[in-house]
């Protein structure tokens, strides 16, 4: 049984188990080594008193605060836009759709899920070009447009996680609801939706993570390096991910470079925390249905 092919395979498996963690540790270790010491209120506010900065009374020029606030607003707006269509569509596909609808719409959602994010950005860009040529010659890129495109990006995350969560509610429970005379919609909204809530919220957290880290979409839809705190929905804005990209290409001095490292570490930590939160929620959900065994 022990032929050369198998031995090579075994060696490759062991090698990869050393190589991959080593490479990731070197990459992220280097990042943390440079970035962690910079983290602090000075990185965020650059000496401006935090209260003044947060309330917008004093503009912050050399800190990450405007970018953080921009990303925060962007993510909030994105989730607000995507939540209803995403969760509703997931519920529909899980509970009301015919097999044919499931097949067709499921394929569309799969396609959207794999779509490169830059295509969503391009879509937003085209939308503005289209509006300029037709109804609104003054249309321009801004926060709302970016959030709409990001909403399209995170839509499949929400749809898929909602659908899976609702479908994992035991069939027998749905049957019991039917035997009581509850209609499908009632069962979906009153029984499955509350029961699947932890799973769905896991999906929402994942969606927040996707929206916060993405750079390609906002590149097309109105992000700039020095907008300050965006005033309105149609204004240009700053974002953390773009700030990192911008600094890597355009940094002027060591201080700005360190700010880039700080921003990268900050975004990394936020993403990891979001992922962990999503996993905790999802695990709690699965324990609820499968833990009894």
């Amino acid at each position: 049984m022990r032929d050369a092919g198998f031995r090579c395979f075994q060696a490759a498996a062991r090698l990869s188990a050393v190589l991959v963690p080593a490479f990731v540790f070197i990459l992220l270790g280097y990042l943390l080594w440079r970035g962690l010491p910079v983290l602090g209120t000075k990185l965020l506010f650059a000496g401006v008193p935090p209260l003044d900065a947060v309330s917008g009374r004093v503009p912050v020029w050399d800190g990450l605060w405007p970018a953080c606030a921009g990303t925060f607003r962007l993510v909030l707006l994105t989730v607000a836009l995507a939540l209803f269509p995403g969760v509703g569509c997931g519920l529909y596909l899980a509970g009301l759709a015919t097999p044919r609808q499931k097949h067709v719409f499921g394929a569309a959602v799969d396609m959207l899920a794999g779509m490169p994010s830059i295509v969503m950005g391009l879509f937003g860009f085209m939308l503005i070009l289209f509006l300029r040529r037709t109804f609104f010659p003054g249309a321009n890129t801004g926060l709302l447009l970016a959030a709409s495109c990001l909403a399209l990006l995170v839509l499949p995350v929400l749809i898929v996680s909602t659908r899976e969560a609702v479908e994992s509610v035991p069939e027998t429970l749905k049957l019991a609801a039917a035997a009581l005379g509850m209609s499908r919609v009632q069962t979906l909204l009153r029984l499955c939706l509350p029961a699947a809530a932890p799973g769905i919220s896991g999906g929402v957290v994942l969606a927040v993570g996707r929206a916060a880290e993405d750079t390609a979409v906002i590149l097309f839809t109105g992000v700039v390096a020095d907008a300050g705190l965006a005033a309105g929905l149609l204004d240009k804005f700053e974002a953390l991910s773009f700030e990192i990209f911008y600094i890597s290409a355009q940094y002027q001095d060591q201080e700005e470079l360190l700010r880039g490292f700080g921003a990268a570490v900050f975004l990394l930590l936020v993403s990891c925390v979001l992922l962990l939160a999503a996993r905790v929620l999802e695990r709690a959900f699965h324990r609820r249905w499968q833990g009894k065994r």
């Binding site: 027998t172 049957l175 035997a179 005379g181």
Partner: protein
């Protein structure tokens, strides 16, 4: 005992994806007492039971032909042939025909919500009457004393027997006129099962009951009418339990074994 039937079934056949589970069943059930369906597993007892509240339609690929009529307090109701009945009718049918499953199907919410949910969504019960009806139903199944001080705890924390009685109470809040029970004690321990049996003997004063049972001794204890189903989903044979013991019943079950292949689902 009343002679008026509660259920009349004529030439009922149910198939899933073209595979017949029960065929040409003729059946008439009395309007009082407990009718117990016995038979080997896979002979179509559950499918027959579920035909009475059209629950088979919840599964894909189901086709039902023949007639099912219920004679309830409100008069005669045609269950089949149904065609595409509007959902309100289906809802009304299921409200009037309560059902309890083999394993307790409590919803993953509080005890109170378990009771309130069907009342609100199916019976359109006004909020002011909610508490009273919930208490009444819980008292009917001897559960009120045990849970009245923890109505807001998750229903899953109750013991198996309590959960099953909760499911029974949940069906009873809707004021059904017929109860369908699918092996209601199969997943319970002896003690809890006895408790449910006692309840059923009390409830039968108010509701006609049709139940499926795997336990021959239980069937003999509870049944006012025994329905012995043969393999292959053919019409069950009705007989009275008087003078039967477990051994003769077992022999009767053996007798009904026909050449028809056993259909399992």
């Amino acid at each position: 005992m009343e002679q008026m039937p509660a259920v009349a079934v004529r030439r009922l056949s149910v198939s899933f994806f073209g595979r017949a589970v029960i065929r040409d069943v003729e059946l008439s059930l009395p309007g009082g007492g407990i009718s117990v369906l016995v038979g080997r597993s896979g002979c179509g007892k559950t499918t027959l039971l579920r035909a009475l509240n059209r629950l088979n339609g919840e599964f894909p690929g189901c086709r039902t032909t023949g007639q099912v009529e219920l004679f309830l307090r409100g008069g005669r109701h045609v269950v089949y042939p149904g065609g595409d009945q509007p959902p309100l009718e289906l809802r009304e049918l299921r409200r009037r025909v309560g059902m309890v499953f083999q394993t307790p199907q409590v919803f993953p919410t509080s005890v109170y919500r378990n009771m309130a949910l069907p009342l609100q969504t199916v019976a359109d019960c006004p909020g002011t009457e909610l508490d009273g009806r919930i208490e009444a139903a819980l008292r009917q199944v001897d559960l009120w004393r045990e849970v009245h001080d923890r109505l807001q705890t998750p229903a899953e924390r109750l013991s198996g027997g309590q959960q099953q009685r909760l499911c029974l109470a949940r069906a009873l809040t809707l004021e059904p006129e017929l109860l369908l029970l699918d092996e209601p004690t199969a997943s319970l321990d002896v003690h809890a099962a006895r408790h449910v049996e006692e309840l059923l003997l009390r409830l039968v004063e108010h509701y006609p009951i049709v139940m499926v049972s795997h336990s021959l001794s239980q069937s003999l204890r509870l049944a006012s009418t025994l329905l012995i189903m043969g393999t292959g989903g053919t019409s069950p044979r009705a007989c009275t339990p008087e003078g039967l013991d477990e051994r003769t019943l077992e022999a009767l079950l053996q007798e009904t074994k026909e050449d028809a292949p056993c259909v399992t689902r």
